[in-house]
Amino acid sequence: MNDPDRAVWLEGVSKRFGSHNAVSDLDFEVPRGSIYGLLGPNGSGKTTTIRMIMGILHPDEGRVSLFGGKPDLVRRARVGYLPEERGVYRKMKVIDLLVFLGEIRGVPRSVARARALGWLDRLDLGAWSGRRVEDLSKGMQQKVQFVGTVIHEPDLLILDEPFSGLDPINQDVLESIVLDLNANGTTILLSTHLMDQAERLCRRVCLISRSRKVLDEDLRTLRARERRGVVAVDFTGPDRWLSSPDIQAVERVGGVLHLVLSDPGAHQAVLRRAIDEGAEILRFDLVEPRLHEIFVRHVGRSNAGLLPS
């Protein structure tokens, strides 16, 4: 249990609400220093899982450990938690709210104030520190909430569906800050249903569907494994080689052709044959499967598996 390499560790965790299984027999671990994505459609149990990690809910079965121990207040104070349903004290001044959020996690007021002002400057909100939170736009409020999440310099950042509804520029700013924090040693646990975001940020992902874990893998390994043997090509010259038995189907996608290979390893043979036949190859890319496709593929498969045969 006392494992310094794991920031979060779940073993056989289940949680029911009445007759509804929110989380079933879930295992996963978030290595220290990683950016870990908890992915799944809405209602798949991500938020319940995070609430158990934060000690807000208690699992019916199984064990949740945080920094190698129970998620008690002392350990939770080392976590920066940005819930999906996040709010603010609308009537408070921005700076007072941030100092308060630091204070309840044990940061002395003067330290919290200095840090808050630094963060607000960094996020172009310096001029707003004395204003009431309700005077800020929704996007600015999200940035303030983010500052509130990191004001106590947590070792682990848990972000539940972060940055939703932010404009692309601010989303970029916050994502680069998250990557920055991670580079400085902060572990990140990110829950999202936005596969693009997960692809940009995560090093390892855990897919949940209908309260169960579907897969849990390093993102690069996952992609390599899920590669289906699709090649994007652009060429001039003869095209007879396209009727090779190695090529199952040819689809036109925009300006390029997608060749679906009968065997994922056949791309070398196909390329050789095309050159032999005199085609001038302008482009020949192995198409990486998008996380989105993998996700749909697996969630579909797992859902099908739940049906009685």
Partner: protein
Amino acid sequence: MSFRNVWAVIRREYLQRVRSRWFVFSTVGGPIFLFAVLAVPAWLRGGPDRDRPPIAIVDGTDALYDRLADDLVAAGFPVERARWTSTVVDTLRRRAAAGEIDGFIMLDQFTLESGDAVLYVNRRPSVVQRGAIRSAIVRAALEVQLEQQGVDVEAMLSGGGLAVEMLSAEGTQDGEPRFLVAYVGAFLLYMVILLHAVAVMRATLEEKTSRIVEVVISSMEPWHLMLGKVLGVGGVALTQLVVWALTGALIVKSGLPTLIAGGSAVGATGPGGIGAEPGPALDLMSAIPDTGLVALFVGYFVFGFFIYSGLYAAVGAMCSTDEEAQQAQLPLVLFLVVPIVFVLQVIENPSDPVSVGLSLFPLFSPILMWARIAGGSVPAWQIGLSFVLMAAAILAIAWIAGRIYKVGILMTGKRPTLSELWRWVREA
């Protein structure tokens, strides 16, 4: 660590509220309003007015002037004596026209016999002013006449004296019952407890609906958050009470009530009345509660506030909208209204077993026990017992409400039924 959390919550809650416009308005506005309620009518009745030119009194009887002058000055009319001469009316008319005097009163033998007199003025006096002057004249005439018969008019007019000798041991340790203090105080307790308990409910509901609560709860025990809110709002309430008490004490010290009472005494005797009743003047003076009573008021407020704010926090936590909360708090309001319904009966029959029983019930104690104490006779052991029972109730409520709060604060959707609530309490 955990107390630091509670402290942070208390601090936030307290400062946010004390800095709010509403707080400043009600804290400063309260005493001003009370002062206005007391002082303005007195002033309208013709209270002290030093700038007003005197009224000249021409006393043809040579017996009335001293008494009448005293009464009129007390009622706020400066007076001066004018000698009876053959040209006095002309002289006074000229002086009145020049604004040196406000007018003049002619008294003669008929005044002594029937109370008739003539008032010459530039401006028509108000009904109240006229009544005040008339009753002062009648009173002076009566006093002169009666004293010649050897009657102690002063003692008779101040209502005689009905001494009460207790035959039983009950309540001998206390002074006169003070209905006004007991009733107004009980009502005030009802209002401040309800007002601030509802504030706790609203704050809880706001945290819940704005979703800030999840962040806060992830850093502290829900029970600590609830405690912090209750203490923070309670601190605001106490601050307000202390400000009110201090301004009240200052007003009393400044002698203002005496001035107002002096002004209103004449008005109360009114046209035709010759001080048959002490009027509000005496009530006002006796209505100023002593320090012990004020301390008990604060004590009962604090305990009552803890009892009800715990319950209201639970209601706030179990609801998701204002409308729901308004409905869910109704049973609690009933518990506060019942004592108000019974308060008169309890003040009138403080030793009645029903009164004793009701006032010892912890949910009613804050209002009824204090009213009984203010009203007159409560043995010390009952006061002590009421505090012990309230303390027990606070612990029980904190335990139950804390559990409801813990579960409810993260719940969304429809309000729980009673059986669901019970499950929360058991399982939390």
